[in-house]
Symmetry: D2
Subunit: 111 residues, 4 copies
């Protein structure tokens, strides 16, 4: 994904790659996931989608989701993992593991 | 990103979209981030990159990173947010916020 | 809290304190929080309390909550922070910050 | 632990218990874990303990660890789980599972 290279360039241009060991990047990812979780924490579960569907709250959700993606790609960069390629393979494996005809309508098991 | 649509189709074909409210998906994302964190927890920080650069450990890292991406995109689907578009805008905003000439070599501030 | 000392002894007796730098312990904590999150991810929000109130599921919840506490106390040990003392001060500060008469029935703000 | 009852009283007095279903509390916990992770993200692993041993940074670490404990106890309250009792049993089980003589000096396995 070209965007993963954009994230690499963004860090490299700022000389931040020196801080980007995997443990640090996972902690940074956790920080962003925490901000994402806080958005939804006190919203009733059945109102969450609507509450974040427009306006400044939608903007906040977009930003927090983006931050998670950016650090996930930075982690991929630090490990030389092409994240979209890996995820494409993982989704294909999940298709094999959970055939449509066998799981229809059943709560997904932990993957 | 076409892959976000693939993730949508994967869930829809299995009738799992009914479970995909934002709070549930953030919890699922946290579960996958937890598995990713566990990979690195006891590895010395300066050996983490090398330790996960090849073999079965690299495979594990690829899988856990993939799971995080897949649930992040599922969350995007539940909120009708195009994750790659949003992240592209966020990275552009970060470029403006942290101009190369002003931050070179300084530890990145929390974004 | 004497239990924080028990956690310290548990690690020390096994010579595991060598692995217990703060970054590693936060990652371990995140791993346990991930397991806790997975318990609840697909349960409807209004059934979560009842679903985990008895039987093997209650046992699972008890174990995952316990693991989070144990790693949190181990983190306290690594930083020589008495966690119960610190939390007692924090709760007192929160009582001052959110006086009962001013917040009654209003959704708690992010602290 | 009397402090768990203090946390219960704190929420009840403010009429916040209505928001404290397990999924919401896990998300709130994740938010606090995220803030804790951010403290350590860019600090070199071998400097983290010293960096947070005194001054305002120690204060920050104390506060973030406290917030995690408070939400963990609130989760225990929502499920009627006595967190200290449960963790005491869990640590006893871990002592049996990892006898001192068998694990001395070996990296702890995921529990």
């Amino acid at each position: 994904m070209p965007f993963q290279q954009d994230v690499r360039g963004f860090a490299a241009e700022r000389d931040w790659t020196q801080f980007h060991d995997p443990k640090s990047l996972v902690l940074a990812l956790v920080g962003e996931v925490g901000e994402l979780a806080e958005l939804f924490q006190w919203v009733p579960a059945d109102e969450a989608r609507r509450t974040y569907s427009s306006g400044p709250r939608r903007q906040r959700a977009e930003e927090e989701i983006s931050d998670v993606l950016i650090y996930l790609l930075a982690l991929g960069n630090s490990l030389d993992i092409d994240v979209l390629d890996a995820a494409t393979r993982k989704l294909a494996a999940a298709r094999d593991r959970f055939p449509v005809e066998s799981v229809d309508g059943v709560a997904p098991e932990k993957d």
